[in-house]
Subunit: 258 residues, 2 copies
DNA sequence: GGCTATTCCCGTATACCCTACGAAAATAGC
DNA sequence: GCTATTTTCGTAGGGTATACGGGAATAGCC
C-alpha cells in the first residue's frame, strides 16, 4: 500500500486539529462525555506504528489498542488520512530544535548538524515516517518549527532571501530522505529478522549466474579493490555524512563568492 | 498502504524473473499453453500505475486489464511483491545510460548530469516509483546498469575505491529522492485536479489564524523579502538544481585536495 | 424528577485488497 | 486415446477504510 497525503477534505477542520494545542478548547455543554481525546488517538497510532509497523496503525488496530469500536475513532478524526497527518506533525514536533532566541551553536554548520541529528533520531524512533509522502505535508506546528529552524541556520551566510529558501529546501530534501533511508534499513532488518548481509548472501546467484563482468567494469573494479564497505549500514552511514558534508561545503563555497 | 519490498520468498525465483531476458528460455514440453507472458504482465502493471496510480495496479486491476481472472497472474508472478519488483527494474532499465565503451560526455559533471536527467525523466514518466521503497531493491539489470554508470562517471576524480562508492551512494540518494519529489508534486496536481497554489490558498487560515510571527522570524523575513518563489514547482526545480550543483561542487573540491 | 437537545458510541454493511486451495481445462508425447 | 503436465480461475478467508443509522449518555431547563 502507498501512503498518500492531505487530500481535499475540509482544510479548516484539518488545520484546527493540527493546531489544536495552540488555541484553548471550547467548554463543553451538553451531550455524552467523550471517552478519548485526539491526543490519545494520535499517540496510540504512533505507538502502534513504532512497535509493529505502519500497517499495524490501521483504524481497527488503533481502536482495538484503545479498547473502543473502530467507528468511534471517526468522532475524533475525520479519516485515516488526517490521523496520519496528525501523527506526522506530532513526531516532527518532537525534534528538539532551538526556537528563536534560544541558545544554539555559533557555527552555522553545527546548527545544521543539530537539524540533521535531530531528524535522524526522529526517523530512528519512527521509521514508518519514511513511508509517508512529504508532498503536501501537514502544515502543523512541527513542520513549521523545522522549516523555521533550518532557514534560521542559513541566515549567517547572507544569501539572497530566495537562495536561502532554495538552499534550505535542498538540505531538507537530502537530510530527510537520507535519514529516512537509514532508518528504513534498520527497520527492515528488525521486521524481517534478516540482516542485510544475509539478504545479499541469499542472492549469491546474482554474482554466480547473472552478473556480467564485461558490462560492469566499474563495479568490478571497486569490488576487487575492496571498495565496498563491510556492512550495508556502514556504507549508508558513511554516504549520509559524506553527502551532507559535501553539500554544505558547496553551499559555503558558493556563499563566499557572492 | 505502504509499499514494501523484496521480502524473503525464494530469492532464486525472483532473480530468475528479474534476469529473464538475459538467459534464453527453456523449450516447453507438455501442458496447457500459456496465454500471457511475464513481460506482458509487467507492462500492464506499469501502464496501469502510470495512468491511474499505483493503487490501480492491484492484482485484480492488472488481471482485468489483461482480460484474465485475478488468480491467473499467480502463474506468472509469485506475488504482488515480486510484480512490483519487476515493474521497478523494468523502468530503471528504461533509462538511456551509456554502457562501458559507449560514447558519453567528456566532463564528469556532464556525465552525472546525464544520470540526473534520465532519472528525472524516469520519475516523470512513472511517478509511482517514488512510492516504492528502495531498501532491498530488485537487483535486476536496470538497477545494476544505473549503479554501474554512476560509478563510472566518478572514476576520473581518482578518489579511493571506497570514496568513489560513498560518493556515488550520496549522489543516488539525492538525485533519486529529489527527482521523486518533483514527480510526486506533478502527480498530486494531476491526481487531485488541484494546483499546489490552490492547495495553499485553501490553507489561508494557517496564516490568518494560527501562524505566529514571533515564533517564525526567519520565515517571515523571507516572505517579506519576497523570497518565496511564485510556484511550488518552480521552488522544487530550483532546489533540485541548486542542491545537485552544490553537492557536485563539494565532491569536486574535495577530490582536488587529495 | 422528567424532558429535550446534543453528543458520542459502535454494529452492520459495502467495497475494495491479497492469496491459499483445488477443480477443471488444455496440451504434448506415447 | 491415455497420461502427465501445465495453465486457468472460482471460491473462500482474512485484511483494509468508511457510510449510515440507531441506541446510549449527558447538561440544562422546566
Amino acid at each position: 500500500m502507498t501512503v498518500r497525503h492531505s487530500g481535499g477534505g475540509q482544510p479548516e477542520r484539518t488545520l484546527a486539529l493540527l493546531w489544536r494545542n495552540q488555541r484553548e478548547q471550547v467548554r463543553r455543554t451538553a451531550g455524552r462525555r467523550p471517552s478519548l481525546d485526539v491526543d490519545g488517538v494520535v499517540r496510540a497510532g504512533i505507538q502502534l506504528a513504532d512497535d509493529r509497523g505502519l500497517d499495524a496503525a490501521s483504524m481497527g488496530g488503533v481502536a482495538k489498542a484503545l479498547g473502543v469500536g473502530t467507528m468511534t475513532l471517526y468522532t475524533y478524526v475525520p479519516s485515516k488520512e488526517e490521523l496520519l497527518d496528525l501523527m506526522v506533525d506530532q513526531v516532527l514536533a518532537e525534534r528538539q530544535l532551538p526556537g528563536p532566541g534560544e541558545p544554539r551553536p555559533t557555527d552555522w554548520r553545527e546548527q545544521v548538524e543539530v537539524y540533521s541529528d535531530q531528524t535522524r533520531a526522529m526517523y530512528e524512533r519512527h521509521p514508518w515516517l519514511a513511508r509517508v509522502s512529504t508532498v503536501r505535508p501537514p502544515v502543523g506546528p512541527g513542520m513549521l518549527a523545522g522549516r523555521e529552524y533550518l532557514l534560521s541556520t542559513l541566515l549567517p551566510l547572507d544569501l539572497s532571501p530566495r537562495d536561502t529558501n532554495t538552499a534550505s529546501l535542498a538540505i531538507t530534501t537530502y537530510v530527510d530522505s537520507a535519514a529516512g533511508l537509514l532508518a528504513e534499513n534498520d527497520l527492515v532488518e528488525r521486521a524481517t529478522g534478516q540482516s542485510n548481509e544475509a539478504w545479499w548472501y541469499d542472492r549469491n546467484d546474482l554474482w554466480e549466474t547473472y552478473f556480467d563482468v564485461e558490462r560492469h567494469p566499474a563495479m568490478t573494479a571497486i569490488w576487487n579493490a575492496n571498495g565496498y564497505q563491510d556492512t550495508v549500514r556502514e556504507a549508508a552511514t558513511d554516504a549520509y555524512r559524506y553527502g551532507l558534508d559535501r553539500l554544505l561545503d558547496g553551499i559555503e563555497a558558493q556563499a563566499k563568492t557572492l
